[in-house]
Symmetry: C2
Subunit: 200 residues, 2 copies
């Protein structure tokens, strides 16, 4: 005997396919959805299809937006000589939350990853190259990919690619996070902090 009816089983497997949701959570969510009112369920399903339908990628920075170009790219008060290259749209909102960066962004939507077969064409690197070619005002590209093997490889690749253009390519500093104890730092972080030491 099947443990659940086909429609419930289908809902559970669809939910379990989302990132960070395992089998148990998917069951829990499914039963929560079953106990919601008709109106709530309709609103949930609509919010999914609506957001997906209304959202496009900004033709300049490739971030998700409902207006093209996006609010950041069309904001004339921002410094258009600097472009911060990030892996995901969530990274843009992390930078914006900080209120310390006033330049523009470029969202890669991923990184090179030989393991998962992601090459240059699978991320928005071609769009970055053509954007830089048509935007002579851009003087610096800050590569803010994650401090992972793939993030570092992607950063190195971008830097090599842009060397002939004369555009300055920088990378976020790697070192000890604020409030951390040296005693508990891992070797790689400590080595990076040492390598990147600055004069005070």
């Amino acid at each position: 005997m099947a443990r659940y009816s086909p429609s419930v089983q289908n809902l559970i497997s669809k939910l379990a396919g989302l990132p960070g949701i395992g089998g148990k959570s998917a069951q829990r969510l499914a039963f929560h959805i079953l106990s919601m009112s008709d109106k709530e369920v309709e609103e949930l399903a609509n919010s999914i299809t609506e957001a997906h339908k209304l959202t496009v990628r900004c033709s300049k920075c490739q971030n998700f937006t409902d207006s093209d170009p996006c609010p950041i790219c069309s904001d004339t008060k921002r410094d258009n000589s600097t472009v911060c290259v990030v892996e995901s749209p969530r990274d843009v909102s992390t930078f914006e939350r900080m209120h310390e960066y006033n330049g523009l962004y470029h969202v890669l939507h991923g990184v090179f990853s030989p393991v998962s077969g992601k090459g240059m064409e699978d991320i928005t690197l071609p769009q970055l190259i053509s954007r830089l070619q048509t935007s002579p005002e851009i003087k610096e590209v800050i590569v803010a990919t994650n401090q992972s093997a793939e993030g570092n490889a992607t950063a190195l690749y971008i830097s090599r690619l842009l060397t002939p253009s004369g555009i300055k390519v920088t990378r976020l500093a790697s070192g000890l996070p604020m409030g951390s104890d040296i005693e508990y730092a891992d070797d790689l972080t400590l080595a990076n902090a040492l390598k990147g030491r600055i004069q005070i």
Copy 2:
């Protein structure tokens, strides 16, 4: 400036309203949904509305089902003299997974909870009472609510309610879980294990 477009913001808040999904996970899920294909998004939204539309409560045991009465209640090979009362549909599948119980179920869809204002009418206790009145074949009610304050209070209430009817009311044993060390048992569990000790 709003951090996300209205439709994305709406999607995030709808997802964050689901149990066990915090703000960060909701953002992560939302961006995953935005990067899905049109077809995948449609399938996800449909699985939600379809499961909700096709699922009803079984008129006998109140479990979620797509056919009324549910497969368990309509299975003539099951022992219809015993009803196991559980809090949620997930508990039914936990019992079924065990393959040791062959009776029927009654799903309360909650427990008494003065804190969250859940009284007798908010759970399917009236349905249980009327089911017992019209089903003289039921000889035993096993109360398998959780071992929580609310679960115990609900069990006690059901037992008091059924005393006049002469139906035997039992409760799952509370004690040390298999494989556990007495050293690490909490006081309440150990006290319950002592109180419920059986002759060997």
